[in-house]
């Protein structure tokens, strides 16, 4: 049944879930919400299982008309919401009636927000996930960002009457400079002095950054003798050094293999930060051991499990 109508789509709004697994060897990246924690939280606040497909909002939010009585919630980067012209808060369940509409503004703190509605969106599953991979035009809503006039249907409405609120401080961390932990890869070939330079640099997020990867600018670093390598597999969060000596951090829609030297891969628990970084934001990298990384991963998983308590 028809559930919502897009009056204004916002800058770049796509449907995402936690992504698809198992297709890297075919050249299909995982895609999925860049800020996982915020995405899971938005689903919880409307009584959905955490991995239901939701809307990822980028920098400028949408204006939406509700075609059914529903519940919705918005989490993530700080964004203003007006329901029928009246301001309402993020991070809580909001009940709407057929004919209600919401308008949202700029993401003022952070870069991306997540909007969930109570129910399962009626869109086809593609390679095991509902996430949009715009580059290949697959997944989500017709494989693309939402446009004015789009009507999204629900397979079923989940009648959710409970009011949930997340009084959290997670949004406090959405500010520059961002410290990001990573695991070193080829420790046997690395030129130590250049590696130190990479660690000491405060990198700046370039405007050419997007869901495929975040490009950073700063001093030129060349941590390896060769500036190109025979293409090898990449992971989400892999930090490549491009020919001109600046890094790019591969993200959810990024390439699965690559021919630029790699320094290492960002911790899964720090990947969410890239979902909230904006051009001009600063990033500092910190090397982390595998043991520490496993610990941080455990903590991150516990943090997500705690979502069900709100």
């Amino acid at each position: 049944m028809d559930a919502i109508r897009i009056i204004k789509p916002g800058l770049f709004t796509t449907i995402q879930d936690r992504g698809r697994e198992g297709y890297r060897m075919y050249g299909v990246p995982p895609s999925g919400a860049l800020d996982r924690f915020s995405f899971y939280l938005s689903n919880h606040l409307v009584g959905n299982p955490l991995n239901f497909p939701a809307f990822e909002i980028t920098l400028v939010g949408p204006k939406i008309e509700f075609l059914k009585d529903l519940a919705f919630a918005i989490t993530g980067g700080e964004i203003e919401i007006w329901l029928n012209g009246k301001a309402v808060e993020m991070n809580q369940t909001i009940f709407v009636k057929k004919g209600d509409f919401i308008e949202t503004g700029f993401v003022k703190k952070g870069a991306r927000a997540y909007l969930s509605i109570s129910g399962f969106l009626d869109i086809p599953i593609v390679l095991g996930s509902y996430s949009t991979y715009t580059k290949a035009k697959i997944g989500g809503y017709e494989g693309r960002q939402l446009r004015e006039g789009d009507i999204l249907k629900l397979k079923e409405i989940r009648p959710f009457k409970e009011k949930r609120e997340a009084k959290l401080d997670y949004q406090e961390n959405f500010s520059s400079p961002y410290e990001v932990g990573f695991i070193l890869e080829k420790d046997d070939e690395i030129i130590f002095s250049e590696f130190e330079k990479f660690l000491n640099e405060t990198w700046t997020v370039k405007s050419e950054s997007d869901r495929s990867g975040y490009r950073l600018k700063g001093s030129e670093v060349h941590p390896f003798k060769k500036r190109e390598i025979l293409s090898e597999p990449l992971n989400t969060g892999t930090i490549q050094i491009l020919k001109e000596g600046n890094p790019v951090v591969i993200l959810a829609d990024g390439p699965t293999v690559g021919g630029y030297p790699k320094i290492g891969t960002v911790l899964v628990s720090d990947l969410d930060k890239f979902g909230q970084m904006k051009p001009g934001d600063k990033v500092i990298f910190k090397r982390v051991s595998l043991e520490e990384a496993y610990k941080k991963r455990e903590e991150y998983i516990k943090k997500i499990e705690k979502i069900s308590e709100y």
Binding site: E21, G22, Y23, R24, M25, Y26, G27, V28, V126, L127, Y133, K135, A136, K137, I138, I183, L184, E185, K186, D187, D188, I229, L230, S231, E232, P233, L234, N235, T236, G237, T238, P255, T256, V257, G264, T265, V266, L267, V268, L290, A293, Y294, R297, I301
Partner: protein
């Protein structure tokens, strides 16, 4: 070449296994054989295996298995397996891809023939007479990195990438040849186009190619191209 095998963490849920840094059919065969043997073990803690030219990534669940265990597993397979460099003939098929090398599709062929100082007919003969190996898939869904291209037609990438390459476009770059499955930007030189869908979600197996496949190109004219594209002519994908 396995004496030089190295292992590195690829983040907290991946391990990278590297045996070389030059395009080599032999090394790729070893990689693919190791990948299959890992797959055959059906270990539930392993999420996926990604083969590349001379390297392999294994993605695992850190909740149930750790880096050292995966590393030991791969080392055991490497040390205890025989014939890692042998091809398993039984499941290898030659995939035949129809390619139209005519002007409308072969966007960079003129410049390529200039760079190589050969005639167009020569180029087509050389490109379509070899059986290529699919070394790996990547860049976009189902994009096959194939090789090794005859020396006479190896050319560098374009200075600036083309912004929109039509799907089905066949490209070359140095030792490699590939086919763009979806419209995208790209830096390879386009020398023809196939009417076949390299990536098709409506097909049971959406991906036409898998790593390790053998591929041959067959020249077709624009009429045949059109008939295949419209579904008026069926194409025999496999060489009998």
């Amino acid at each position: 070449m396995l004496e030089n095998a190295k292992y590195f963490p690829l983040g907290e849920d991946g391990i990278l296994f590297v045996i070389g840094n030059e395009i080599s059919i032999e090394e790729n065969r070893i990689i693919w054989n190791i990948a299959r043997r890992i797959k055959d073990l059906k270990i539930k803690e392993i999420k996926e295996i990604v083969p590349a030219y001379s390297s392999l990534a294994v993605f695992y669940k850190p909740e149930s298995i750790k880096y050292e265990q995966i590393r030991n597993l791969i080392e055991n397979i490497v040390n205890s397996s025989e014939n890692l460099d042998k091809e398993e003939e039984s499941f290898r098929k030659n995939i035949v891809i129809p390619v139209c090398y005519e002007e409308d599709f072969a966007l960079d062929l003129e410049i390529v023939t200039e760079i190589c100082s050969i005639k167009k007919e020569e180029f087509i003969e050389i490109h379509s007479s070899k059986i290529y190996r699919v070394f790996m898939l990547g860049f976009s869904p189902g994009f096959p990195y194939m090789g090794i291209l005859d020396e006479r037609i190896q050319v560098p990438r374009r200075e600036t990438p083309r912004i929109k390459i039509p799907p089905g476009s066949v490209g070359i770059a140095e030792k490699q040849t590939g086919i763009y499955p979806v419209e995208s930007a790209g830096g390879w030189r386009i020398i023809g186009r196939t009417p076949l869908k390299i990536f098709d979600l409506n097909r049971e197996n959406p991906f036409l190619f898998s790593p390790g496949d053998n591929v041959k190109f067959k020249p077709i004219d624009t009429q045949t191209y059109s008939r295949i594209e419209k579904g008026e002519k069926e194409w025999m994908l496999y060489e009998s």
